[in-house]
């Protein structure tokens, strides 16, 4: 039993930490987020050159065949620096769906382009009414003249503005919210009938609401009607990834808060000398350690495909949401007036934690599922 990183994983961690130190100081990040689509294409090219975009993909396509631990390492370090580049949307979601479900020809066509940093993608699954039930899909796909025509609206599509290609979840059979009858389609976002309304999230990420009117799909990913299992497995991996991202953000926010309380003086002493504040910071540290323990638990279980995998992941997502709220709220409070300004990065970390809570289902949602799963993990 060990919780150590391999030599290669340690190198990846160090190289991302170096990138963050050199490129993601407060002002640098603000400049990146202000760019078109909210990220730097130069950084993205650097990611490609450093091999980071290849890590989760199969070796046959030029990938590194990385597993959950590798993704955790990358996303945790990105979280520390609030890195804005769309690794989640393009590599883990869009790329993950291709890697898991696409035909060999499609993989050969698209995955090397993702690895080279030439292609931005997005996964369009949410709809206005769906809230946290991913199977609640009204967008339809029907066949006409041997082609699939898509109609409907997708909301809050991560990286939806920059994506050249979309993977769209649409209903080909069944009733609203049925898991059966969902099919995934590859769509060129420049196709006729694709209308994008682009906006930003509070953490600077660009998203889009996408209306599809008789859009011709380029291909089906996986088997028709069986898209739900495919998206569920890729979204589970993404849940782990965003929790790792949150842990990095929590660690950075805790360190920043402790450092601030050591230097900020009131009543002639550093405010960190006050017991009332010390105990709050211990609570923040304790919450962060719970997330770390559940992350290690979930990552190890995912790696071994163990019986504990599902419960651990659900528990992790609950804890990440709850701990994020606690740590975020306390970090603002302990920074006093400065905590509510845009002059420090505190607020940006807190926003990131808030958004991660909502991604793929919030803490309450996951706790309800956890309670239903019971002790058997079934």
């Amino acid at each position: 039993m060990n919780f150590n990183l391999s030599e290669e994983q340690g190198q990846i961690r160090d190289s991302i930490a170096r990138f963050v130190a050199e490129n993601y100081a407060f002002d640098q990040r603000n400049a990146v987020v202000a760019l078109d689509h909210g990220f730097s294409t130069a950084h993205w090219q650097q990611f490609a050159e450093l091999g980071w975009l290849s890590i989760p993909f199969a070796e046959a396509h030029g990938g590194f065949a990385g597993g959950p631990v590798d993704t955790m390492v990358i996303m945790q370090e990105f979280g520390r620096g609030l890195v804005a580049e769309p690794y989640l949307a393009t590599v883990l979601l869009f790329g993950g769906l291709l890697q898991t479900g696409a035909s060999a020809d499609m993989q050969e066509e698209f995955i090397p382009r993702i690895i080279a940093g030439e292609l931005q993608g997005a996964f369009a699954y949410l709809e206005r009414q769906s809230r946290y039930e991913m199977a609640d899909i009204l967008t339809t796909a029907r066949q006409k003249d041997g082609k699939w025509l898509l109609n409907g609206e997708k909301t809050v599509v991560l990286n939806g503005g920059a994506a050249q290609y979309l993977i769209v979840a649409a209903r080909t059979a069944g009733e609203q919210a049925d898991e059966a009858g969902i099919t995934l389609f590859l769509v060129d976002s420049a196709s006729d009938g694709v209308e994008r309304r682009v906006y930003r999230m509070t953490d600077g990420a660009e998203v889009a609401n996408i209306t599809l009117t008789n859009v011709v799909a380029q291909a089906v990913i996986g088997a028709p009607g069986e898209g739900y299992a495919l998206m569920a497995s890729v979204v589970d991996a993404a849940r782990l990834a965003v929790c790792a991202n949150a842990l990095g953000a929590m660690e950075a926010l805790n360190a920043q808060t402790v450092a601030y309380c050591k230097t900020r003086e009131q009543f002639g002493v550093a405010i960190g000398s006050f017991q009332a504040l010390q105990h709050r910071m211990v609570d923040m540290f304790g919450a962060c350690e719970k997330v770390k323990s559940l992350l290690y638990r979930a990552v190890c279980a995912a790696q071994d495909n163990g019986a504990d995998a599902r419960r651990s992941l659900l528990a992790l997502k609950v804890m990440t949401g709850r701990a994020g709220r606690l740590i975020g709220g306390e970090a603002i409070q302990l920074h006093g007036g400065m905590g509510v300004t845009d002059a420090l990065s505190v607020g940006f970390y807190v926003k990131r934690l808030m958004i991660i809570n909502t991604l793929f289902g919030d803490a309450d949602y996951h706790q309800q599922v956890f309670a239903k799963v019971g002790v058997t993990g079934g």
Partner: protein, 392 residues
């Protein structure tokens, strides 16, 4: 990063399960769980562990320990807790033994360790005093040396199981001139010494486990001193870390939570099981999630120890979160028992009372209140974490 069990570990797990199924029988369990027979029951259970060579897994092999890996220790502890068997009483085998092994001389090791291993001596801990609780270093019990004998005067309080003890390990003051942490000496005292009086403390849980211990001109030979005079605080601190790790009781909480779940399943409210009550399910799952985190926090601490690191200030967080979880389970169990939780069963059987676990639910709740106070209160653990982990 890897938490899979090896073939060797799985074989070991089978061996542990077999040992427990053969040795943790209903009779010894009943004796351990009844206050009147607890001491004899626990001693019998510990002798079975001793015969198997498992009484002191964490000791060096030369003194009768095992060379178990961290994973094996984790497996043993999980399996032990899963069947409801107690840990060996910590005061001897875990606490004073770790100090004797680390700081005692050869004669002390030869005299005390084999008797602890065979459960021939029952130990208790003389740390807290009426004026020295969280501020332990403020202790005043005096030891005045004359030739080869110390004379002890003063009193200790909150002494668990002093009524059973053959020996007490004590922090006493041998010098008041310097900082209060200096001038403290670690002594091993025979409870049969003239001048020792034990007085029980009645507690809110209705059990008798706490006592006051009074020392009136008690004579202790200098050979019963651990290490150097005036260095007792250093020795005591190393022991506190072990104490905190054992207080977390993560595996035992897992069993307690499993029991609670089964109790709730059969409690019916408005025609449906409590498990189907949304509010109850929310409280139960919140505790389960905390406990799942705690299990891995403990594993992380054990893995660090296995790599040669001493258990450090992180043990404070385990104590803190471990006792919070214990108390949350006790509280929820009391709520499951509903208004029966306030009953005093007395001579009535559970069937006559109408509820099988009501009487113990509230007792366990009240007994559990002590866990966030002993071993250094949880607020003290927060102070330690703030200072040594966060650097505040």
């Amino acid at each position: 990063m890897d938490t899979r069990l090896s073939e060797e570990d799985l074989t070991f797990q089978d061996e542990v399960r077999q040992f427990l199924s053969e040795n943790w029988d209903a009779q010894v369990a009943a004796r351990c769980n009844n206050l009147a027979t607890m001491k004899e029951g626990v001693e019998e259970w510990q002798r079975r562990l001793y015969r198997k060579g498992w009484m002191a897994p964490h000791w060096p092999v030369e003194h009768g320990g095992t060379d178990w890996s961290v994973t094996q220790r984790f497996i043993y502890n999980s399996e032990r807790a899963a069947v409801g068997a107690p840990e060996a009483v910590a005061f001897g085998v875990t606490m004073v033994a770790s100090v004797i092994i680390a700081y005692g001389n050869e004669q002390q090791k030869a005299k005390f360790l084999p008797r602890i291993l065979k459960s021939e001596d029952w130990w208790c801990q003389g740390y807290s005093e009426p004026g020295a609780g969280s501020d332990l270093a403020a202790l005043k019990t005096r030891a005045d040396r004359e030739g080869e004998v110390y004379t002890i005067n003063g009193s200790k309080i909150w002494t668990t199981y002093a009524q059973y003890a053959d020996w007490i390990f004590c922090l006493v003051r041998t010098d008041s001139s310097g900082r209060k942490q200096q001038g403290i000496t670690f002594l091993l005292i025979d409870m049969k010494s003239p001048g020792i009086t034990v007085r029980p403390i009645r507690t809110i849980d209705g059990f008798h486990h706490l006592n006051e211990v009074f020392f009136d001109n008690v004579k202790v030979p200098v050979e019963n001193r651990i290490g150097e005079e005036g260095k007792g605080w250093t020795y005591a601190k190393s022991l506190l870390v072990h104490e905190r790790l054992s207080i977390a009781e993560v595996a035992d909480s897992k069993r307690a939570l499993g029991e609670l779940r089964e109790l709730a399943r059969t409690e019916v409210n408005g025609g449906k099981s409590l498990l189907d009550d949304a509010l109850f399910a929310q409280r139960l799952s919140a505790i389960e999630i905390d406990l799942m985190a705690l299990e891995f926090t403990e594993l992380r601490a054990l893995a660090a120890i296995a790599e040669g690191n001493q258990p450090g200030p992180e043990s404070s967080l385990l104590k803190l979160q471990g006792t919070e979880t214990q108390q949350a389970i006790q509280e929820l169990r009391m709520d499951v028992a509903a208004y029966y939780s306030g009953t005093l069963q007395g001579e009535l059987s559970a069937a006559q009372l109408g509820h099988a676990f009501a009487d113990s639910a509230q007792k366990l709740y009240f007994r559990g209140r002590a866990s966030s106070i002993y071993g250094g209160s949880n607020e003290v653990q927060k102070n330690i974490t703030a200072k040594y982990v966060l650097g505040l």
